[in-house]
Every structure is written in C-alpha cells, then in structure tokens.
Subunit: 515 residues, 2 copies
C-alpha cells in the first residue's frame, strides 16, 4: 500500500500530510462551512464525514455542508443522525436528512446546481473554511485528480482556506485523464465559455490549486454506493415509446436530424428507462450533455448509439460500475466529466440546444411542474439541475407516471401544490398514456392536450369538469382558487384524490361536482 | 417628401415598392403568421396594422401576431376590436386585447422574451409569412435600419417569406448607427456570443436581408406612444431608498464595487423610480444592460451617473422623447439597441453578472413571485423578460408596493396565486417598508425576513399566524393547503384580503384564526 500511495500522491512534499481520517477531521470545527465532493452518490468522501459524526458524539459540532449533489454511503444519514448538519445545500436524497429538513431542524437551501459556486465565488453565501475532496491521485504539481464525479469539487478546493484530500485506492489510477476542469474567468473580465460541442475539452485533467492549501491527506479504499434506480417496467417503457415516436416525427418533419440534439436526462428510474429506450430507436450518433451518466448511458455507449457522453458524475449499478471501471480504457475517449457549473451552465445548454428529459413529481393541467415538494410542503430531494436544463433547452421534456399510490394520486392535477418549473419552461409532458406537445399553445389549449393525452383515464372527467367550471369564471389560466388545491387536501385527509362518489371508470356517480 | 424618401430608401431599386398601407396590407391574408416590430410601445408599425383592421370589417382576416413586446398607438386595441388577432405572442399590454385573452377569445402565448425567435428559427412554432418592420432607412445594400426599438424585428425580417418596411419620416435619420444587430450562428455550429461588456458592439448597424424579400414599403410620419409610467411617489421613493442602502452595504463589505454590476430594470413605475433613485446614490460609472431605457435611464445618463446603456428599446415620456431624439448625437456614443434575443440572452446575462430589478404583482412568504396573473387567473401583460433576467442575475431583486386596492390587497401573501419566478430565482424583495435579503436562506428563514421587512404591518400578524399554524404540520415549505389561497378568494368574494374581525392595527380582534 505504501508504494501505491507514492504513485497516487506524486508531489513528494505532500506525503507527510497523510493522516488518519480522525486526525484530518480535526481541521473541521464547530460552526464552519465545509464543501465536500460527491454528486448523485458518486465520488463522495468515504472517511472524513464519519470521523466528524464520531466526534460529534463528544463535542458540539454543527456545520454548514455543501456538496455537488446527493451523497452515497449513508453519509448524509450518518451526519444527520449525529446532528452535525446545521445547514445543507444544494441537494440531498437521504431519508434521515430529509426528515430533519422537513421538521425544520436542518436549514436546507434548494438551489439550481449551476449556481452554488457562482454564489460562493461572489461571497453571497458564507465562505468555505474547509474542502474535503475525494481523489484518484495528486499530480506532481499538486493538482487534484477527482474520481467518479467532479460536481463542485474543483471550485470548493480553489475557494476553501484548507483542503483535505481523500485518496481512494479503490478507484483505478487511469481515471486520470477523464476530467476536464474549467473555471469561468472572474467578473468583470469574464469571457465566453469556449465549449461548442459536448466532446470538446476546454480545461485541465486535474483541479489546479496551491498544494500548500492541502492540509491533510486520508487514504481510503471503498466503492461508491450503487445507483438505486429501478429497472424499466411496462409504464416506463410506454413513456420511452411515446417519446421515441414523437422524436421520430420531429425527424420526419425535418425539425430534428436523426442524430437529434445533445441529450440530457435527469437521474432516476423513468429517465433511465427513457434513455434505455433509445437503444431501439432509429436515431444514431447521439451525444449526451448531461449531469449524470446512468446505466442506460453506458448501455447506449456499448450499443454504439451514443457517440459521446459529457457529464459531471457517473452513477451506476454495481455490475455496470465494476465493468465501467475495469474496462475504462474502452470508454475513456468517449466520456468526459466536468464541473457541474459547466455541465449545467445556462450558456452552454442554450448554445448546444439540448433535448432535456427530467422527472416531474406532478404536473398541472397548464403545464406547471412540481419536482420537489410532496403535498406542496415536504421536500423530497431538491430541484437539482432540472431548472438549469429545462429553462434553456431546445426541447424541454418532463416525464412522470400518471398515477401514484395505487391510483390514489393523479400526477396530473388542477394546480400543482408547488411550482419548480413554470409553464414557460415545459414543452412536452409524457406519461405512460401519451405525450402532450405544448409548444406554441395557450393555457386553455395546453389543458386539452395534457388531460387528453397524459392524465389517467380515471381522472380525465374530473379534470375536464374542473376546467369547464373554471372557464366559466374566465381568465387566461382559468382556475377555481377555492378548489385548485383540493385534490391534495383530499388525498391528505381521505387517502385519495378521488372524491367520494367518483367511480373507478372515470364517470361521476352523482353530479355533485357540476356547478 | 419625395427627396426625403430618396434619402431614406437608399437602394434605388426598392423605390418602386413604395405603396399605400392598404396596398401593403394585402400581402397579409387570412390565417397567416405575421411578425411586427414594436417593443414596449417603441418602434411599432404605425400604418399597416390599421389597414388590416379596416380590411377585417369586410372580409375574414384572422392572424397569428408576434411582436417584440407590447405595442403603442392602440395597435393591439384596434386589431383586437377588429377581431384580427387569433393568436398573440410573446407579450402585450393593452386593455382590450387583455379582455379578449381572458375571455379565451384570443390564444395568448406568454413567453420569455429571449425565446421567441429561437423557437421560430428551429420551426417549433408556425413559420412567419410576413414581417412588418418600422425603419428609419433602408441602406444602399438593402439593410433595414430600425427606429426606437429592435425587439424581434431583425429575426422576423430574416425569417419571414416577405417583408413590409414602414419608413417613419418622423424618426431622425441619425438613429442610424444606434443599433447593433447580431444573430447567433445556427446550431450545431453555434459559437459563443462574443459580448463581454454592455458597451461592446458585435454586429451590424442594420438588419441584413436579401432586398428582394422587401415586398412593400410604406411611408409614415408618426411618433411612438409616450411611456405611461407614473412619476415617483413616497412609496416608490422608499423602495429606492431601501435598495440603495442595501447596495451601499454590499459595497462596504466588498461584495460589490462602487460601480456595482450592470443594471437591468423592468419597465414600469416602480422600476423607473428605483433607477431614478440612483441619481442620489454614492455609486458611479454605472452601466445598464437592460431591455428598455425609460426616462430614468436618460436622467442617469444626463446626471453622469450612467456611463453606458444597452437595451432593446427606448420608451420615454413625451418631453424626454423629444429631447432624446433632438439631442441624439449627445447620447449616441453611450447607448446601443440590440435584438431582444441578445439583450435578454441567458448567456450574456450570466456572464455580465447583472443586478436585475423587476416588478412583482405579489410575492409569497417563501419568495415565489407572481408577475402576470391577477387573482391567479387573469393575465395582466405577460412575463416579458423578467424570467430571462431573474434566473441568470448576479443579484435578482423584485420590487412591489406592499399594498394594493387601498389596503384590501396585501402584495405579500401566504402563497402566490400564480408562480412566474420560483424562490430559487429571487434573492431580494423590496417594498416601501423594507428589504428582505433571502440569499442563503431556507424557506422558513425567508418567511421571517419577508413578513418582518416587507409585508405591511396591517398584515404581518395574519401572515405570522399562518406560518405558525403551517409549521405545526411540518415541511420544508410549511403550508396549509386548504387555506393557502384563501386570501385571494376572500378578496374576490368579500372585497378584502382582511378577514372579518381583523382590525386595521394588525391585531386580531378575536382569536378565531388560531388553531
């Protein structure tokens, strides 16, 4: 292992910084702001967070924790249980932490993923005391080579007063060369980001920092947590089929070429299944410009459908993870990992003209999307990059199953209980029942498409009844404000969005709801 | 006048295209899609729209009408009354048209102002049959020199099959040179927009089109409609004072320099007053990168506070308009007008790092903003550029008076009745009572700031009571869904958001509202 360490920490003067996780963690003190690597369970720090959790049993230790996005290895769980997290941004996906956020015990700042380091850099949020970054290696000049994600690690390391590096010996050394680290020039001298194609490299293969800032190095040897995405099912396959058929029509009308536009897909079971669906599509030489590469991205690379994939992290199931890392040389020329500021940058997204595919918790009849709040109040994970992508997309697609909770919840509702994406940013909605193409439509027209094509048939009449009665009151976006959120209240109080007297077949048993 | 026309239409071969407005309007036929110049009452076509309205009295004539933004001269009124408009995008501000939109008689597509020509160019909305563009002149090579706005005129002229040019002899000839016309390269070869400072010119001083597309030229001689912005009052002055004091603190802490960052201000009485307030500020060498220059922008130029102003249109009161056009040479080196795609482009806004100031109809306690829908249903004007700017701003400020309708409406409500800007895109809210700095705060913390600093004292207790009861139910963003929109319903049904038994002083006369 010692020789291993020598080949991984190539700047000799840093070798005496190697310490235990507990020792490194003492650099982090109560009240500090800490930035940690990790994006959608990939490339998170495996040792220092747990040392913090252990210490918090004996002394007061509450910090502001920033990451790229969600962490694996139950890190957020351990830190939340030990009460280490006072404030957390910009994303999370852990059940224990979520409970504390929703209880008001942890202050969570739910941010567009491209914006966190902008705010840090301009000192609009608290400055970073310590950055903790997982790395494959430290180069001869002190550059940090990330592992399976870049996330916010590069800016965290540059902006923090001190840096702890976790060298993960389980990560193959040839990850070096996979990353492309670029920082926008400081305002007011900021230049255009020179990226004009997903496959272009514009930066360095490591995070360039003054090696004197590296205050501790911890050696670890543990895998990332595997992706928890579920395999495709009948409904996700149907969603993929509707989207493929739509895109094929766009190609036939000449609005898209058979190579489409660069693709982005949010993390999750439905997006993964939709990407998986491209394997059997007529499209070819596809490119991705996305946040996360999932199993489906690797399958698309393997199938030859996908020519190149740019992202900020790689989050895979156990077997695909093993294969990807073992056969890395085979993939390396077709994959790049960038800082999330660049993978999610409005400038680049708008320039490249992406087709973006993100998951909605619920949509309303006018095309507004809730991506974050269960029942309008309880945080699920966070908005993540969905806003960065949907706003600037060439074609902004949202996918959802039409029902949840065995049909007691309709994902298509009169009014979403929380808005993350306004109707202005939603071009296409797809459920297993069909696809609503909302481009160029006014709200009243959008309602017809969304209810007719996307809502479950069991809820269509109820939605149409709402629209008819709302339209009698007039308005560009007709609503009955006193009823607009009643479906959510009904689910909360009665266990179903379906009102009493509403039959399974979609007809109203009694005309009580007609005005 | 003939010699005037010769000096304005400098490509001789086009002189025989000069026709009457009625004749030119025959190029526009029933069912067509028409793009007209005009942005916030500036640079609209003065003759052809009325010829269309006249013709519609005798024959079926319904069109899709696209513009830059709102039109002056009662054009939307005349066209709406004549039933010419079947579909309208991306913005309007006319009472008659608004009534038809809200009655569902005109389909209105409310869009981010930067996006319309993107969608046109990629054929995601119906292609343009005819563009009608007001011009100061046509150059020797057929280039069209716009007047007081650029808006979408350049792309409309380039993308339309035929172009009608209205040469407005009331516009001074030396408007030529004021404009900077730039188009992004077509994807997939799109390059960065090379603009890195508000004062930079990156394009041509005219709209370059094939002169053979110019099918008709109409001579007009009429001024733009004057701005209908009201003068500053005590409340708008207070809003300006709070914002100035805040920015001065940001300068003292070193987060901003005394030249601030380039400023954007939405059109309207409050924004105009806020800009006006900069005259007495300690800041200097300010620059604007905005959509519209209002009276206050000219005052700031006159006062020497403002070093340069970039926009897409100039919308002034009658006396300032006269002065600006008469003394144009004095201003010309310090003003540029660009296509709204560029003035509002996410890429440029993010790069320059703007301080954006936009008006809210209402805000909620968590910082979500409604800019468009009265009572959640009825369209006012449209989202305009507020989304383009707020999303990508360095500092996104929303301003509103805390009360409307003599206090019967609180502009700070538990939940906005329509969301145009989510909490993710709102950094600062200012009313006449004070300023809420929401940066880095979680929703529960935001509510404290917004209620305590921005809500009218008469509504604060009622808002706090809502928050307390909502928090008992838990959640990252606590709400009582069955009550969240009750304030709007109460105003609609009872004429006031204040419940019966709620005293003017802000205390509850009876504890009926406590859970």
């Amino acid at each position: 292992m010692t020789s291993d360490i020598g080949s991984r920490v190539r700047l000799q003067s840093l070798l005496d910084k190697v310490v235990s996780a507990d020792e490194a963690a003492t650099l982090i003190r109560d009240g500090m702001t800490v930035g940690m690597s990790g994006f959608t369970r990939a490339g998170d720090c495996k040792a220092v967070p747990f040392a913090l959790a252990r210490r918090a049993a004996h002394e007061p230790l509450r910090i502001t924790l920033m990451t790229g996005a969600s962490l694996g290895n139950d890190i957020d769980k351990a830190l939340a249980e030990a009460d280490v997290i006072a404030r957390r941004l910009p994303f999370q996906a852990d059940a224990t932490l979520r409970r504390k956020i929703n209880a008001g015990e942890v202050m969570f700042i739910d941010q567009h993923l491209s914006e966190t380091v902008e705010q840090l850099r301009s000192r609009q949020i608290a400055p970073l005391d310590v950055a903790v970054v997982e790395a494959t290696a430290i180069t001869e000049n002190g550059g940090i080579v990330p592992t399976t994600s870049v996330g916010n690690s590069a800016s965290f390391a540059v902006l923090a007063k001190q840096v702890i590096v976790e060298i993960n010996l389980n990560m193959p050394a040839n990850l070096e060369g996979l990353h492309d680290i670029f920082f926008p020039v400081q305002r007011p001298h900021r230049q255009p980001i020179p990226l004009i194609a997903p496959e272009q490299r514009i930066g360095l293969p490591y995070i360039p920092i003054d090696p004197r800032k590296i205050a501790a190095i911890v050696i670890t040897g543990q895998d990332d947590s595997p992706s928890n995405v579920l395999p495709p099912d009948m409904e996700t396959n149907a969603i993929a089929g509707h989207l493929n058929a739509f895109l094929a029509r766009e190609v036939r009308t000449g609005r898209l070429s058979p190579t489409l536009q660069p693709l982005q897909a949010g993390i999750g079971t439905i997006s993964n299944a939709v990407l998986h669906g491209f394997i059997d599509s007529p499209f070819h030489d596809l490119k991705m410009y996305s946040e996360v590469l999932q199993d489906s991205s690797i399958e698309l690379l393997d199938s030859g459908k996908l020519a190149f994939a740019s992202a900020s992290s790689i989050t895979l199931s156990r077997p695909v993870y093993k294969r990807f890392l073992t056969e890395l040389e085979r993939y390396k020329s077709r994959v790049v990992l960038r800082p999330q500021e660049i993978s999610n940058h409005p400038e680049v997204i708008r320039r490249l003209g992406l087709i973006t595919i993100n998951t909605a918790l619920e949509c309303d009849i006018y095309g507004n999307v809730n991506s974050t709040h269960v029942g309008g109040t309880h945080m699920m994970n966070g908005i993540g990059g969905s806003g960065d992508f949907a706003r600037n997309a060439h074609l902004s697609v949202f996918v959802t199953k039409s029902l949840a909770k065995d049909g007691d919840i309709s994902s298509i509702v009169p009014m979403v209980s929380h808005v993350d994406h306004t109707e202005h940013d939603v071009d296409i909605i797809v459920t297993e029942h069909g696809l609503a193409d909302l481009r160029g439509l006014a709200p009243r027209e959008r309602a017809v498409q969304i209810i007719g094509n996307c809502a479950d048939p069991r809820y269509r009449e109820l939605l149409r009844d709402y629209v008819v009665r709302a339209q009698r009151r007039g308005g560009h976006t007709p609503h009955l404000l006193e009823e607009a959120l009643a479906w959510h209240v009904r689910f909360r109080d009665q266990g179903s969005m379906r009102p009493a007297g509403f039959s399974e077949e979609g007809a109203l048993a009694e005309p009580a709801l007609s005005a």
